[in-house]
């Protein structure tokens, strides 16, 4: 096994810059690793070896010609299958899009290509990003590299597992209620949900338009910042894209200084329902930060207790509308029922056959919440709760520069544990959802290992467009934990059995 796969993206960029390694070598090392372990992990739905190597060759040639290249040029990346990639399959984890080749690139994809990052392939996910375990993928679940009997989190389990299993140094995820951060916590990796509007949603197959945000999945905070800089920034193709300079995230990750930083611990996120081991790792992390000069304050965000309920009305409502376009008329699966099929019956049969149970559950729930007579009571009320949550954030950020909580209430659970209990599954996102409802950025990084031998995560939240604060505090904590552990957390994961 090549040592190249153990390197961080930042380290790989240095090797490339000093001509110590070529992009082709690096890409090939990762393709080999995918070949070795992905039959077990199933992080990828589609691997584009040819395309990745072609980009690598191009970058190597351009570097040899003395061309000025972007920092991450030549460093390979995996992309969650919810973002369109021209000429490659894009399924969003759904059978309804099986075989569909997008005729256009998502803005995130286009920026990765423009920056010269070879795309290794598309990663597995819960169907249309609905889920917290990837068990709802239409193509089979992804396994957690720490314990292959366990889920890697979701919906972006594929991206997190790819990074944690050293199949890719970098990956793109999307986070609607925690789909980047929760898998990061479950796999001992780093995940960032940028400020809503910070990264273009153009080409991101919408789950809930007012909540979705793409972001980095990496093994280090600095890598996340480097990737953040590549994909963020205003996009005229997304009306909800913020037309302001990208916060200085890389500089912040390099600064990593928490002296005088006020860290607010959210009272409502971390009590009942949270694994005591996770809470312990969280408190130990706070101790380290306090020791480094941060001021820890308790803040109360009383409306957060309603966040989950509001989220499970807003998300299905928007999703029921966003997913209406999958109708067998212009692309994707077409199922004709017996008898004398019409457009209407073909649509209905295709949507029944092509969507999984969780997707149908949420579409029906959202259709209900928006239907006449119920709109005010459900969708309307949920929007009011959203206002209260935004107000709670505003108040909290009045006394704290960043907020902190455990990322997820549990460590990675076993396959099937929560599959038949939607509410228990939904509760996975209790700590991550408030950030999506308010549009503020969040970062999760490993806080340690629980007694069950599985990684735990800590989450930081910052005001909108203050993403740099997350990288500063995250990098500071990461450095102190690394000192304590003596090696990156992923070295503590059981070595994956290699098929070869």
């Amino acid at each position: 096994m090549s040592e190249l796969i153990r390197k961080s993206a930042g380290e790989l960029a240095e090797l490339l810059g000093s001509r110590t390694a070529s992009s082709v070598e690096i890409v090939q090392a990762h393709l080999d690793r995918i070949e070795d372990v992905d039959a077990t992990i199933h992080a990828f739905l589609h691997v584009d070896a040819e395309g990745a190597l072609a980009t690598a060759r191009d970058i190597d040639a351009r570097r040899a010609a003395g061309e000025e290249l972007s920092t991450l040029a030549g460093v390979p990346i995996a992309v969650k299958d919810v973002l369109t990639t021209k000429g490659l399959p894009t399924t969003a984890g759904s059978r309804i899009l099986e075989g569909w080749i997008a005729p256009y690139d998502a803005t995130v994809t286009a920026r990765l290509k423009a920056a010269g990052l070879p795309i290794l392939g598309k990663t597995n996910m819960d169907e249309f990003a609905m889920g917290s375990s990837t068990e709802h993928s239409g193509y089979g679940p992804t396994r957690n590299p720490w314990d292959t009997d366990r889920i890697p989190g979701g919906s972006g389990g594929g991206s997190a597992a790819a990074v944690a299993a050293f199949e890719a140094p970098l990956a793109i995820g999307t986070d609607t209620g925690g789909s980047i951060r929760q898998p990061a916590a479950m796999t001992g990796s780093v995940g960032v949900k940028p400020t809503y509007g910070g990264v273009s949603r153009y080409g991101l197959i919408a789950l809930a338009s007012s909540l979705d945000q793409a972001g980095p999945c990496t093994r280090t905070v600095l890598d996340a910042a480097l990737l953040h800089e590549v994909i963020a920034g205003h996009d005229p193709l997304d009306s909800t894209s913020i037309d302001r300079p990208v916060p200085p995230v890389v500089a912040a990750a390099r600064r990593a200084d928490v002296k005088g930083l006020r860290i607010g611990v959210v009272k409502e996120l971390g009590g009942e329902g949270f694994d005591p081991e996770i809470v312990s790792r969280f408190e130990e992390s706070l101790d380290l930060l306090r020791g480094a000069g941060a001021e820890i304050v308790e803040v109360s965000c009383p409306s957060f207790v309603h966040a989950l309920a509001a989220y499970y009305l807003i998300l299905p409502s928007e999703a029921s509308s966003n997913l209406a376009r999958f109708d067998a008329m212009r692309y994707g699966l077409r199922v004709s029922p017996d008898g004398d099929p019409s457009a209407e019956t073909v649509m209905a049969a295709t949507r029944d056959a092509g969507f999984g149970d969780e997707v149908k559950r949420r579409i029906i729930l959202g259709t209900y919440a928006l239907s006449s007579g119920y709109y005010d009571a459900y969708y309307g009320s949920a929007q009011k709760v959203r206002t209260l949550i935004a107000e709670d954030f505003a108040k909290a950020f009045g006394v704290a520069d960043v907020l902190a909580s455990p990322t997820s209430p549990t460590t990675a659970f076993k396959f099937g544990d929560k599959l038949d209990d939607p509410l228990a599954m939904y509760a996975q996102d209790v700590a991550t959802i408030p950030a999506n409802l308010a549009g503020v950025p969040g970062l999760s990084l490993p806080s340690g290992i629980a007694a069950d031998g599985l990684p735990t995560g800590i989450q930081f939240l910052a005001p909108a467009m203050a993403d740099d604060r997350l990288y500063n505090v995250g990098a500071a904590l990461e450095r102190m934990l690394l000192d304590q552990w003596g090696a990156p957390i992923l070295t503590k994961a059981p070595e994956l059995e290699v098929a070869r």
Partner: protein, 504 residues
């Protein structure tokens, strides 16, 4: 299609029922690009050639609002004397249909960009006067058009009985403005005429703004006629029907009239009106039932999360107001006064569709009465013969003014002018060129004229004697003789002067 159906005589129906109408007009804007994407909007392009991820509703695509379309919407709202919302949003109207790419239409729901307006409509009366009706406008809002389906198989090419359909999304996403009236309650007999006049008025008004082609034949102006009857004296409105896609002014009038007669027959028989959409049939002016409007229709509107709200500042609205042309009615009043036209002159000019042509001819230098005379006389006759609109004639107002200028300068006379019109319409060039090439210029060479006058006097000695005796009126006979010899190409005034000089 319509079968035999009991119909009540229109006038008879109105003795018992009051019609209440609501008109919904869809205007396709003539922007360069679509409402939410950069695709071109040209009519008649090859199928699916003006499409992109956004207007095909591909996974992941996002809309971005066309700023010019918003300005057009505001200008339409202002022209209809509406209030402009200081803050409004788009909303999704959710329903499934194969020609609607996202299976929701991006529209506006409870926050239209323009609302509470009115417009005064002139309805021609039997006496030849105009009666003014004020139509109240409920709202004008922005939305997007759908694709177009071609139904294959079956007998008629219609949706019913087709084997399958072929969808072209070129039209999907073209900006639409939907203009909805408040209930129109007018003297019953007037209702169909008011409906027609309103739609025709909107055509002029919005055409004048330059924001739409407003062509009913191409679908850039489409009208749905909602109509209900209530027994005279009853306050509550009856159940209404919605006759869709009534696509000419005449059809609007016919549809309203037909529904009055049809609904009256049902009500007379004690039957209920079914709340439904109805189809209009051009060939006989009838309507037939379409889709029943059921309670199951639930569009689940909610604010479009992919688009930012629109906040129209006072400054912006006033800036747009300043770009509005004069309203047609006010313009007519002003022009009539300027031109010193009688009411009859003016009505004839407007009725002939010649107002803009006459105005442009006057603008180009012709006297108002002269401009009117040519367009409503000679040119109207020719248009009539060719069975085309005046505006289609291949002569410009500028050229008509040039011809009049030639007359005023004495270079040609009215009779010769007709030949010049022939030449210009035949594509022989400018009026000057036609005069030259056809040799139409009046002879103003005194030498040639003088010789002709001498010959006329010699040939008519008795007439010459009468003139010498002071009977000046007799000069007409000599003038006629001279003009005949000159084959009309002489200035009759100058001929007269010469005769009187020689015999005076």
């Amino acid at each position: 299609m319509t079968g035999t159906r009991t119909m009540v005589d229109f006038d008879d129906a109105l003795t018992r029922y009051q019609p209440v109408m609501g008109l919904e007009v869809h205007i396709e804007l003539n922007t360069e690009s679509k409402m939410f994407c950069g695709c071109a909007t040209n009519f008649g392009a090859e199928p699916n050639s003006n499409v992109c991820p956004v207007c095909l509703g591909l996974p992941g695509a996002l809309p971005v609002v066309n700023g010019t379309a918003v300005e057009s919407a505001i200008r339409i709202g202002l022209a209809l004397n509406c209030q402009i919302a200081s803050w409004c949003r788009f909303a999704r109207k959710n329903y499934f249909y194969p020609d609607m790419p996202k299976n929701f239409q991006t529209s506006q729901y409870d926050e239209p960009i323009a609302f509470n307006g009115w417009t005064d409509v002139a309805v021609p009366t039997a006496e030849g006067d105009d009666e003014i009706y004020r139509v109240e406008i409920e709202r004008a809002h922005m939305e997007e058009d759908t694709g177009k389906s071609l139904h294959v198989g079956g007998a008629t090419g219609r949706i019913h009985g087709a084997d399958y359909s072929l969808v072209d999304f070129n039209r999907a996403g073209i900006p639409l403005i939907e203009i909805v009236t408040k209930p129109i309650v007018v003297p019953g007999a007037k209702a169909p005429a008011v409906a027609r006049a309103y739609v025709s008025h909107l055509r002029d008004l919005i055409g004048g703004l330059g924001v739409s082609d407003v062509r009913m034949d191409q679908g850039s102006l489409r009208c749905d006629v909602n109509l209900s009857l209530r027994p005279i004296g009853q306050e509550a409105f009856g159940t209404r029907t919605e006759t869709k896609n009534v696509n000419s002014f005449k059809s609007v009038e016919q549809a309203a009239r037909f529904e009055v007669q049809r609904q009256a027959a049902l009500l007379d028989a004690g039957e209920k009106i079914v709340q439904e959409t109805r189809h209009f049939h051009e060939k006989d002016g009838s309507t037939s039932p379409g889709r029943e409007k059921s309670d199951a229709e639930d569009y689940r509107y909610f604010p479009e999360p992919d688009l930012a709200p629109i906040s129209a500042s006072r400054e912006w609205v006033e800036e747009l107001r300043a770009t509005l042309p004069e309203p047609p009615a006010a313009r007519r009043r002003r022009l009539q006064a300027e031109w010193e036209f009688s009411d009859l002159d003016m009505r004839d000019t407007v009725g002939a569709g010649a107002l803009d042509l006459v105005a442009a001819t006057i603008e180009a230098g012709a006297a108002p009465q002269a401009a009117r005379k040519w367009w409503l006389g000679e040119l109207a006759r020719r248009a009539n013969e060719a069975d085309v609109e005046l505006s289609v004639l291949t002569i410009t107002p500028q050229q008509v003014a040039e011809i009049q200028a030639l007359i005023d300068a004495g270079k040609i006379n009215d009779k010769l002018a007709r030949d010049v019109f022939d030449g210009v319409l035949a594509g022989e060039g400018t009026p000057e060129e036609v005069v030259a090439s056809r040799g139409l210029e009046v002879v103003s060479d005194d030498g040639a004229l003088s010789d002709a006058v001498d010959r006329a006097i010699e040939a008519n000695p008795d007439v010459a004697d009468k003139i010498r005796d002071g009977k000046v009126a007799a000069a007409g006979a000599l003038i006629g003789a001279v003009m005949k010899e000159m084959r009309g190409q002489a200035d009759a005034g100058r001929v007269r002067e010469l005769i009187l000089e020689k015999l005076g």
